[in-house]
């Protein structure tokens, strides 16, 4: 019985493979050529958990990749891995590489060990890793000449957003909802708290953060929980929630929109990209007070441009912060008054000049 079943199945597999072989068009891999010259290369991207339109780092990276692709006439492609293990990530990198996409951008902390292996495995490939640097199992970091690691000073971005929030609201409670408890999210949180404190000390605002209103939900995807957490915070008197939480943040935004529509006050501070549009209700109003941005799109774009010009800064770790305008809040947001915008711009300059130092550590802050 087994023999027959297996024979038939095997036969099917072989037939299918043969059929597939017949229909094949020019061999994709190995035809090299494309990536050999620096002027013409293909750019690939592997997404982290979440989709390409996550309004966060996947989307930011992809926008940068696409912009560069359009400008320099390069082919671009993103792949979404089926799982989140190292094997899943490596498989997609291999797929891109074999398909001729040898310049590969990977956004997210989780790619650390993957790129550590990939940079050795595909030595004529180029890798850009965002939010982390390649590290082995033992935690030892090593950036090879074909890799660039990019970091962002999220704490500075959170700080600026915190100052803006405090100045605009003047008094009352604010809260924070994080996704998973990973360094970039923690940095946003700690920076935000420092920013609120700075505004309270220097601009005599009276903004308060209660410890129970600072939470890490634990996922980047649980929309329902995000909505319920935000609702609970708003109900207990919180005026604005800083949501650095992917899909959980989407839930929080939905909740704020529902409240704003009913004529109640509810603000969200967006994250990673300018989320103003996501918070729009009733035509042109938005519940996004401001957004703590990190300009991933620019980072991705810059790296592709550098490669195009033969100046790929391989082997280096780069930081995007206030000094190189790699972080900040959007220039325009009608929800912030002109006065607030000016004051925030001053604070931003002070961070740039080093007069204000934002610590990337927890210290005595909440969570």
């Amino acid at each position: 019985m087994f023999k027959k079943v297996s024979a038939v199945l095997l036969a099917t597999m072989m037939t299918v493979t043969l059929l597939a072989g017949c229909g094949s068009t020019p061999s994709p891999a190995g035809s090299g050529g494309t990536a050999a010259t620096a002027a013409k290369f293909k750019v690939g991207m592997v997404t982290d958990s979440g989709t390409i339109d996550d309004k966060s780092f996947n989307q930011g990276t992809w926008e940068g990749v696409q912009k560069a692709g359009k400008e320099f006439g390069l082919e671009t492609k993103y792949l979404k891995p089926t799982g989140t293990t190292e094997a899943d990530y490596l498989k997609e990198i291999g797929n891109l590489y074999d398909a001729g996409y040898k310049f590969i951008v990977t956004p997210g902390f989780k790619f650390s060990t993957t790129i550590f292996q990939a940079q050795d495995k595909y030595q004529d490939g180029k890798f850009v890793i965002i939010d982390a640097s390649p590290a082995g199992k033992d935690g030892k970091e090593s950036i090879k000449p074909n890799t660039v690691a990019i970091f962002f000073a999220e704490q500075e971005s959170g700080f600026v957003a915190g100052v803006a929030t405090a100045l605009q609201l003047k008094e009352g409670d604010v809260g924070f909802i994080g996704g998973m408890e990973i360094p970039p999210v923690q940095h946003y949180n700690w920076g935000f708290q420092q920013g609120i404190k700075y505004a309270n000390d220097n601009f005599s605002t009276k903004i308060n953060i209660k410890p129970e209103n600072v939470v890490y939900q634990g996922t980047f995807s649980d929309v329902a929980a995000g909505q319920q957490l935000a609702a609970h915070m708003f109900d207990s008197g919180v005026k604005a929630v800083f949501a650095a939480a992917g899909g959980v943040g989407v839930g929080a935004i939905n909740e704020a929109k529902a409240r704003a529509k009913a004529g109640k006050q509810a603000w969200i501070v967006g994250v990673d990209v300018d989320q103003f549009k996501d918070g729009v209700y009733d035509g042109s109003k938005s519940i996004i007070l401001t957004s703590a941005m990190k300009k991933i799109d620019i980072a991705a774009y810059d790296m592709i441009k550098a490669e195009k010009e033969g100046k790929f800064p391989g082997g280096k770790s780069m930081i995007f912060n206030s000094k190189n305008n790699g972080i900040g809040i959007p220039d325009k947001n009608p929800n912030l008054s002109a006065d607030v915008t000016t004051k925030v711009a001053d604070v931003f300059k002070k961070i740039q000049s080093g007069d204000i130092k934002v610590s990337p550590d927890k210290g005595s802050l909440i969570k």
């Binding site: 297996s6 597999m13 597939a20 792949l79 891995p81 293990t85 190292e86 989780k110």
Partner: protein, 355 residues
């Protein structure tokens, strides 16, 4: 709910074969409708899984957990039980194996058997609970195993960060040391750096053992008798309740082992917040494999090939990789409605005779 499966293996092989063909045809139709060329698409799909030694290794490794979860579901089916909880059992087994690997600083040769044992126990315990509830209280296993899935999901969600936190990440455990991994150098080299590992051999051994148990032992005979007709089996003096618990226990052990091949084989740590989809795919594997151990193995290899190749297809041509999952789901629907296919076959036969 009684599970009825047609006797006659040649028939089920033909059904499986036709279901695959129909599934691929439906997939081709979908690809064409969405504006791509199905032939090119399929070419890349199969190339992606087979075009190099490394990719063949990756395909085998992708299939490994599927073989074991499929075997788990198939085994429970034989006793008339629908084990929809293979995911949770895999997670529990994988967690136990990872925990042992991270805790005990032992040499590979001692550590690996201990990890395997832990995985088998973890999975078995997770399946015994629904098994016992079915036997003692007649609680339907579909619901109880799903509840067990979520319980394991949340336990691991909190246990991993609490006890085995990664160096930087809260969302996964530390990486297991090399001595605790199923990856071995000679195999990695043989397949040009693929992540194929000893799990594959464990899966093959499991297939052989399960085939032996089902076809050559009294235990296997009793389990099948319970599945075929519970009341007749009871009348014949078989302890039905004991066999139900035993069947779930073995099914859980297989799934648990599957979890180990995933987390300490293909990967090198365990992640939180995800129920492994391979557990649900086990249902598809078992169904296409007509619940036979060897059939399940080939079905798992076929599905593994589709899963393994879809990323490359997506890289080469504008076809979303979910086409692979759609093809598999269609195959399962056709396998589920096998009556239709059987009628078709009979009709064709009649025509031939008539002429």
């Amino acid at each position: 709910m009684k599970l009825q499966f047609k006797k006659g293996s040649a028939k089920s092989a033909v059904v499986a074969f036709l279901a695959i063909i129909f599934g691929l045809l439906a997939g081709a139709l979908l690809i064409a409708v969405t504006g791509s060329d199905p032939f090119t698409g399929y070419a890349y799909l199969f190339k992606g899984g087979l075009m190099s030694t490394e990719r063949i290794g990756d395909t085998l490794a992708t299939s490994t957990p599927l073989i074991l979860s499929g075997l788990s579901v198939a085994f429970a089916f034989k006793t008339g039980l629908f084990n929809i909880g293979a995911s949770g059992q895999m997670l529990m087994g994988g967690f136990c194996a990872t925990a042992v690997g991270l805790t005990l600083p032992l040499p590979f040769i001692i550590l690996l058997p201990l990890e395997i044992l832990a995985a088998i126990m973890g999975g078995a315990i997770w399946a015994v609970v629904p098994g016992f509830m079915k036997a003692r209280f007649n609680v339907h296993e579909v619901v109880s195993t799903i509840m067990m899935n979520w319980i394991s999901y949340w336990i691991i969600y909190y246990a991993v960060p609490a006890y085995f936190k990664g160096q930087f990440l809260e969302t996964e455990s530390r990486a297991i040391p090399d001595a605790a991994s199923m990856k071995v150098n000679w195999l990695t080299h043989l397949f040009d750096g693929s992540f194929v590992n000893l799990g594959l051999f464990l899966a093959i051994v499991a297939v052989i053992i399960i085939a032996f148990i089902l076809n050559r032992t009294v235990m296997g005979y009793e389990l099948k008798a319970v599945g075929y007709n519970r009341f007749a089996a009871e009348y014949a003096g078989i302890n039905v309740n004991r066999n139900i618990v035993l069947s779930m226990m073995i099914a859980g052990a297989l799934a648990g082992l599957g979890g180990a091949t995933m987390y300490i084989g293909n990967a090198s740590n365990i992640q939180i917040g995800i129920l492994p989809s391979q557990g649900f795919d086990g249902i598809a594997v078992a169904l296409l494999g007509a619940n036979s151990p060897l059939g399940s193995m080939f079905a798992a290899l076929f599905f593994g090939l589709l899963y393994s190749g879809k990323g490359f297809m997506n890289a080469m041509i504008q076809i979303p990789p979910e086409i692979a999952d759609t093809i598999i789901a269609t195959i399962i629907y056709f396998a589920a409605t096998s009556v239709l296919i059987e009628r078709l076959v009979n009709m064709l036969r009649f025509r031939k005779r008539g002429q």
